[in-house]
């Protein structure tokens, strides 16, 4: 083999090795998958709408606080406890309805956002329950035919209600452990047990008594949790 041939072969090998190196350099790095720990945190929250409605003298308000656990930054088992408050007087009838009673909800939030960037898009499911007392009063309740006027006093009527809620919510990090979020929920009543005379006007935690209804929350959340770790695929 002549020196020229050896030189040509060596040059060719060098060129091939250089080309291979440059191709390898152009390949994208392997993507890293973010993985959150199983117990990624705990959080407590308060619905500021209910408290604001009560502060501004609204005729009804659901004031609630909640707690939840963050599992894998995806599943959030949650519990909410609150007090439903309603004082309403009929414009023309003179009937007064009032209740101030507790309620509770249990359920799960599912985070659809796969990136662990602090923003969360939730699918929400809740089971709600309330065992409550209410008053139905009218100081001048009169018999239109026989003309007898007597106060109508139905105090301490007992009722229980159960319902389900489905909804969506968003949440974002504001500062440090403070987060802000809101949700909108569709509610439908499963069961209502109440005295024979009539149904309550308002169900604590559910809202105005009906077969179904809408509700929403604006939550301030204090979230203490671990950050997601980036691991190689």
């Amino acid at each position: 083999m002549s020196k020229l041939t050896i030189c040509r072969l060596t040059s060719l090998l060098l060129l091939i090795s250089l080309a291979c190196c440059s191709l390898q350099a152009q390949e994208k790095p392997k993507p890293k998958k973010e993985k959150a720990p199983l117990l990624s945190g705990v959080a407590v929250s308060a619905d500021i709408v209910g408290f604001a409605m009560k502060a501004f003298g609204a005729k009804f308000a659901n004031m609630e606080v909640g707690a939840r656990i963050n599992l894998l930054d995806k599943y959030f088992p949650a519990a909410e406890l609150g007090i439903g408050d309603c004082h309403r007087e009929g414009a023309e009838s003179g009937n007064r309805f009032s209740t101030t009673s507790p309620y509770m909800r249990f359920g799960l939030d599912y985070n659809f956002n796969k990136k662990h960037n602090g923003n969360r898009l939730f699918g929400i499911f809740r089971y709600g329950f309330s065992s409550f007392k209410y008053d139905y009063l009218n100081d001048s309740f009169s018999d239109p035919v026989y003309g007898v006027t007597r106060p109508l006093d139905l105090s301490g009527e007992k009722a229980t209600a159960q319902w389900l809620e489905f909804g969506v919510g968003v949440e974002t990090k504001l500062w440090s452990i403070v987060r802000l979020g809101w949700s909108i929920r569709y509610k439908f009543r499963l069961d209502l047990s109440c005295p024979e005379g009539g149904e309550p006007y308002f169900i604590p935690g559910f809202g105005k008594n009906d077969d179904n209804g809408w509700g929403g929350t604006v939550n301030v959340v204090f979230d203490v949790g671990k950050t997601a770790k980036k691991t190689k695929k």
Binding site: N95, G198, W214
Partner: protein, 157 residues
Amino acid sequence: MKHRLLLILTGILLLAACESYDCTLYNYVGMYSQFYQNGAKVKLNDTLTITSGKSGRVLLNRSVGSSRLTLPLSYWQDVDTLVFSVKDNNSIHRDSVWIIKSNLVHYESPDCPATLFHTIEEVRCTHEFIESINIIRSSVNYEQTDNLQINIASASN
């Protein structure tokens, strides 16, 4: 896109802000009665007046050709006394009817008028022109079906 979202949100807020009163449209509570003679429905040819026994209030005034009655019951009394007066050309026949009942307050919403439903437990009467009274349906509420069957004597009509 932002404008659409704003419109949708505004629509939801407006819907949430609307309030409707779902009061029952037909909210008259009355006791429905039908006259019978020899097992068949009849019309009274004479003039019928019905007053409440204690207060003397006129519940039905000089009705001619009555076949079906709708009478209000008192809200709070356990026994209502009704006086039936039938006047023909020559004379007046009077019968007293006692309705023994229980009363139950019925309410729907603070915005709707409350009322009372009743359960008729027993009916007694004198027998001047009324032969007997049968309870067909004891519940007196918004339903417009007959509660009492008033059987009148054969010679009265």
